[in-house]
């Protein structure tokens, strides 16, 4: 099944031509209408006329996360505010938030992208989609929502949280599709079992669309076995709009709609990698109006597959996200920056200066974050309760800042590793 067969099966040669035309229009557009890109092009010595086709894409400068923060709130916009119909924003991790604006057409393009994707992973009119991604400033909930309605499916906008109710509604309203993070799906399956409900036998759920955090084939298998459903991967970031792309039923890569986005893979120096090699995914939006992005560095490490897919779609696929290019950690679907953790620890006088962040994936598939911190020698009393209170205090402070809980292990001063130069304080034992 295709949502838009003409577009989805466009011959690869024609897709390239569409990309060239749209790219050329885009560089002219942002040069004239985006103060940010005009400045950026001038600094790089680039004239819009220099970009004659896809071969010149690599001449264009990258756009990175700090650009969004530095130009908060409207500096990246290429449209007047009167044309903006919606904002989404992500919480500021180092102070300022980032904001993304959408024109009416941007929303339409986003919905089109998700309609194609949902259809590609077999969602259809008869389905009831229970959306357990957060609604609000986060793009997950609404991204699924409008596409679900457009498809003619029934949308159940439960948003995140309240697991008991999620399960009851899933059973009573006969949800067939569930959208959430993979770790939440694992948690929900366990929870359901603990209250005597089998997702497989007691509900109509047949599939789930999971994303917003890196996950593995092993996790897919675990979810599928545990809940008796098909599990599909979804990709998208708020900067690019929100959730945009999913796997097709081949479960062999996520289709990136090439008439809307140009995907590249670059190495650490920003140079294009060879065919089939892994690197950072870089995306240029060629169909966005309000806040087009040129060579947006997603920070996600993956491989690009340009061969036509067995499903018949000609659009390239990205393989499973293998990790993050920068320091950002994704813990249970929540973005965590080591700098935030350091900041919290620095506010606690009893905590020493040295710390380690250890990430594990527990048997149930949930991420477990452990923060080891040295106790400050001066603060050591001989009471167990004092130390337990200290770990609890740090743990509570971390939870309130990070929105995800952490285990705190207080250790002896001098026992944690010291670093010269760039500290490697993160040990990620999760096998993604």
């Amino acid at each position: 099944m295709y949502w838009n067969p003409g577009a989805e099966k466009t011959p690869i040669k024609d897709l390239r031509e569409i990309q060239e035309r749209k790219l050329k229009a885009l560089v002219h557009n942002v040069y004239y209408y985006s103060p940010f890109y005009r400045k950026k092009f001038r600094e790089a010595g680039i004239n819009p006329w220099d970009i004659e086709g896809l071969k010149d894409l690599k001449k264009l400068p990258f756009t990175k996360k700090p650009d969004l923060r530095d130009n908060y709130p409207f500096g990246m916009f290429a449209m007047p505010l009167s044309q903006i119909v919606r904002f989404h924003a992500s919480s500021g991790t180092t102070g300022k938030p980032t904001v993304v604006g959408y024109t009416d057409n941007d929303i339409k393009v986003w919905v089109e992208s998700m309609c194609r994707s949902l259809t590609a992973c077999s969602v259809e009119r008869d389905d009831t989609i229970q959306i357990s991604y957060g609604y609000g400033l986060f793009t997950g909930g609404l991204g699924f929502h409008y596409a679900g309605e457009k498809l003619g499916a029934t949308v159940l906008p439960t948003s995140a949280g309240n697991t008991q109710r999620q399960i009851e509604l899933m059973r009573d309203l006969k949800s067939t599709v569930f959208a959430c993070t993979p770790s939440y799906m694992l948690y929900l399956s366990e929870y359901a079992a603990s209250i005597g409900i089998s997702i497989e036998n007691d509900t109509d759920l047949r599939m789930g669309i999971f994303g917003a955090e890196p996950w593995s084939e092993e996790t897919r298998k675990r979810i599928e076995d545990k809940a008796g459903i098909d599990a599909y991967d979804v990709y998208g970031t708020s900067e690019l709009s929100g959730p945009l792309f999913t796997e097709c039923t081949e479960k062999n890569g996520i289709h990136i709609w090439a008439d809307q986005f140009i995907a590249e893979i670059v190495d650490e120096e920003g140079e294009p990698v060879g065919e089939g090699e892994k690197g950072e995914l870089v995306v240029t939006t060629i169909a966005k109006e309000a806040m087009p992005l040129i060579r947006w560095k997603t920070g996600d490490i993956t491989v690009l597959e340009e061969e036509k897919c067995a499903c018949g779609r000609t659009h390239p696929r990205i393989m499973r996200i293998m990790g993050r290019a920068d320091d950002m950690l994704i813990v249970r679907g929540v973005n965590v920056f080591p700098s935030q953790i350091e900041h919290v620890l620095m506010q606690v006088p009893e905590a020493g200066d040295h710390y380690m962040i250890i990430l594990d994936r527990a048997q149930d598939g949930l991420d477990v974050m452990t923060i080891q911190v040295e106790v400050n020698e001066e603060a050591f009393s001989d009471k167990v309760s004092d130390i337990l209170e200290l770990s609890k205090k740090i743990s509570n402070n971390l939870k309130s800042v990070l929105n995800v809980s952490a285990r705190v292990e207080v250790v002896n001063p001098g026992t944690l590793q010291r670093f010269e130069g760039k500290a490697k304080r993160v040990i990620d034992n999760r096998k993604l």
Binding site: V375, V384, L388
Partner: protein, 141 residues
Amino acid sequence: MDEKIIKQVSIFVENKPGRLAAVTEILYRAKINIRAFTIAEAGDFGIIRMVVDKTDDAHRLLKENGFTVSLTRVLGVEVEDEPGGMFKIAKALGNEGINIEYVYAFTSGVERAMIILRVDDIEKATDVLEKEGVLFKGEVP
């Protein structure tokens, strides 16, 4: 009054193999004798509390070897090794509203038990126990 108060050595140890051995080896090599010893264990870590014959030496040596050590003022009480010995003390302190934060005991020699107490008000506890006529060990010789 201070001579009635014992300085206990408290050591923070992570709950890892070999930590206890490391602590006791340091003391053994310095010929420091352990008179009373207990570990309060809480999952990832524990606190070793002990009364030794050469407190200051033990404190210094452990610190030099990278341990987190503190000296804690505790009371040492000697009672008859018979039923009711601990009760007598706990009741006397309780009646005066003194909170016992922790206590550990061991028998020493014939028919005597030594009790180490950490209380929230050590001065008041000293008075109370003195009136009770229990024997203070003071600084362990």
